[in-house]
Symmetry: C2
Subunit: 209 residues, 2 copies
């Protein structure tokens, strides 16, 4: 008999989903992505593995939803509307200060040891698996990038960014260097680095005469 959909069963279902998300993130941190299995996630979350197979086609899909869930929770905490995965970038009228604020927050997220392993695992899977990579970009990355486009457009209207700049490309001068440093581990990812990237991108490398 199919269970009647009641507020109670919906709450139980939400609780199970969150337990599964948390179990997936914890397991990837502890044993790595390759050794994380649906069975292991189910055991840790205290649900049957059929529950997971009913909702997700793969462990990558579980991990992706775990990050979406986290992003949604983080956004709610800072007052984003329901369904929004991120708050907007502030517009105080000082473009450099606003971008430094958000890039410093990104540095802190990337350096957060509790999420480092699953974030790296999911990103690395997307590097080799085109389909998963496209889903990662569509669901998790693009909504973040759209916030930069909005802020840079406002800066163009305010005269702080040249009118002939494409905001979708300009934002890559900001987040590209950060992600490059984090992904390839070339040098430490610090607030000072975030600040310098913002200053270099806005001011340019050439002398202003």
């Amino acid at each position: 008999m199919a269970p009647t959909k009641t507020p109670d069963s919906s709450r139980r279902s939400d609780r199970s989903r969150r337990a599964i998300h948390d179990a997936a993130l914890a397991l990837v941190t502890e044993v790595g992505y390759q050794r994380t299995t649906i069975e292991g996630i189910a055991a840790r979350a205290g649900v049957g593995k059929q529950t997971i197979y009913r909702w997700w086609p793969s462990k990558a899909a579980v991990l992706m939803d775990a990050f979406l869930d986290l992003a949604g929770r983080a956004a709610e905490e800072v007052g984003a509307g329901p369904g929004e995965t991120a708050p907007g970038i502030p517009d105080t009228g000082d473009l450099a200060a606003d971008l430094k604020l958000v890039l410093r927050a990104t540095v802190d997220e990337l350096n957060d040891p509790t999420l480092e392993a699953p974030t790296r695992a999911l990103t690395a899977e997307g590097v080799v698996d085109a389909k998963l990579g496209a889903e990662f970009v569509h669901k998790l990355l693009d909504p973040q990038l759209a916030l930069y486009v909005t802020r840079l457009r406002a800066a163009q209207e305010a005269g702080d960014v040249r009118a002939d700049v494409d905001p979708r490309i300009a934002l890559e001068l900001l987040i590209g260097p950060l992600m490059h440093r984090w992904l390839l581990r070339t040098l430490p990812l610090t607030h000072a680095y975030a600040d310098e990237i913002v200053d270099y991108a806005i001011g340019g490398l050439a002398p202003r005469t």
Copy 2:
């Protein structure tokens, strides 16, 4: 009995190494990194697997040396000195043109379908494996980045880049966006994009008044 080291045995050894490199690159392209094994590489290269175990501790190490070998061969073709893994960035006196030339070449390399799978595989392994990632940076990436530092320092002496810019950070505004787009597959990686990144980085996003 240990074989006497003669010019002939040294040549045979070079041939075996190159066969092993090529076999590793081909196998990763065909079956993926996870399913590539030392046994499979040995069979394809026509050597015993003990030969591979004698020279390399892991398949990741084989793949890393395969890329070093490729980089060395490519550099020799364009006239770099022996042991150099890359030619320098040209200095025609036109910084933007020189950087566009080298970034367009990087775009072509990243889009080369014959090397895409092994390049992605090795990079993705470095994203999750800190030790391998550090080796990748030390052996393969840092020598490339040093060429940008040299060219940007020359540009500072020529007055084309501000004296207070750190070349080691400035180069990340150039290659960070390219690698970000390639690794995360956000949008197509084209020559036009390489050109725009160079123009934005040199000129900056803010109006020049």
